[in-house]
Symmetry: C2
DNA sequence: AAAAATTTTTAGATTTACCTAAAAATTTAA
DNA sequence: TTAAATTTTTAGGTAAATCTAAAAATTTTT
């Protein structure tokens, strides 16, 4: 049984490992809002428990056991987010912090019944995939909106930035999950992207376009 | 902001104060499954934070602030129990431990929306009253089944013992919340109670009868 | 390949929530 | 009203998770 803190470290390492092969002490520290010295302490402990492989100065990787725990926490986090949005009418930008706490509730029964209650959802309110109870989930193959060319179209199926400010901004623009979009123009001057929605035409910055994930349904 | 541990102490003191005026160190220790020395440590800390009034060797009482926190935890505990039973199909004997964790999730929004989602329930699955968001709730006026006389009738509206063993036993006997009962006899030999239910007649021990709470609807 | 910059670890403390053993206070019984 | 039993507190320590400051290792730049 892992502590709340250990679970958060494992989850952080798991997410960092999705981006970089070599997970560094400083990166973990930044993500966990703590100091590198504290991270070193914790890594040693996790290594002793067989949850990570660790070589001094070489960063960490999760062991099979460590990855299993991490994926389980991710599963709980995302299921609770679905609950908050679908059942309690939270907005997609309001759920993260509460899910951050709820993910640590220790009861297998609870999470399985919650999963069933929610209808075994496959994705959370941000489009991230929800692992099943065996930890399996499809590797989603999204394209960043910024990578699309003029004329390409697709459906918004995820975001790669979960800050409240970003999500609120998307909401205001009408860029929510499931929306059909088509690239009508890409501005030479600043690289901003002109998008055609079903009912309107909008312009978004490169920065915003970078963090919108599209499941492409046809290039031109 | 209180820690998980502080919240549990406050809740324990609150419940003990419902039974005895003077809440003793040893009683808290037993309830919290810890040692009296640890309780003394914590009491001092809570006193410093203004959550309890404390005079050495004289036991503790909650301050207004302490009582507010305690009632808030009780509210959360009971609302989560309702959620588990009504929405996730847990049995009334399976919910306590999970609610013991869930009650510490810190989000006012969460609990208010949960309350609404559940339809603002007035009682939890064990018949205990749920405080509203201002901490107010009706002092329930139950009678212990053991105190009824032959011929008295009423409705089962609560239990004063929450152990899984006891609750499972009641379930098996068909003595669940809302059931109409009438006392048909009280055995001279062992004081056991003969009860008439709508569909059958059963006999329960004094020990069981002590912990069933009845809202009486007419003595004879 | 040195020097400089960055990253990571160690050393030594702190805080929180515990513990055991022993001392002190209070309550109950003789 | 002493003596005995019980309750409560104090003293001194431990373990988990954190911190700061300084040392060590690695990487990047000149
Ligand atoms: Mn968390
Ligand atoms: Mn999410
Ligand atoms: Mn609790
Ligand atoms: Mn209850």
């Amino acid at each position: 049984m892992q502590s709340y803190t250990e679970e958060n470290y494992l989850k952080t390492i798991y997410h960092l490992a999705e981006k970089t092969t070599n997970v560094q002490t400083n990166a973990i520290a930044e993500q966990m809002q703590t100091k590198p010295a504290s991270v070193t302490d914790m890594i040693k402990k996790l290594a002793e428990k067989g949850l990570v492989d660790y070589i001094k100065y070489q960063g960490v990787t999760l062991t099979e056991a460590g990855k299993n725990t991490a994926v389980d926490i991710v599963r709980k986090h995302r299921l609770w987010e679905v609950f908050l949005v679908n059942k309690l009418n939270f907005k997609w930008d309001e759920v993260h912090d509460v899910a951050e706490e709820l993910e640590h509730i220790k009861s297998i029964e609870l999470i399985e019944r919650l999963d069933e209650f929610l209808g075994f959802p496959k994705a959370d309110p941000h489009g991230d995939p929800i692992p099943d109870k065996n930890g399996r989930f499809a590797k989603t193959q999204f394209i960043k909106l910024i990578e699309l060319k003029i004329g390409d179209s697709g459906t918004i199926t995820g975001v790669s930035q979960h800050s409240s400010a970003f999500l609120k901004h998307l909401e205001k623009l009408g860029l929510t999950l499931g929306k059909q979009i088509q690239i009508s123009d890409i501005t030479d001057f600043d690289g901003s992207v002109e998008i055609k929605l079903s009912d309107k035409q909008i312009n978004i910055s490169r920065e915003v376009a970078k963090h919108i994930l599209i499941s492409s349904n046809g290039k031109n």
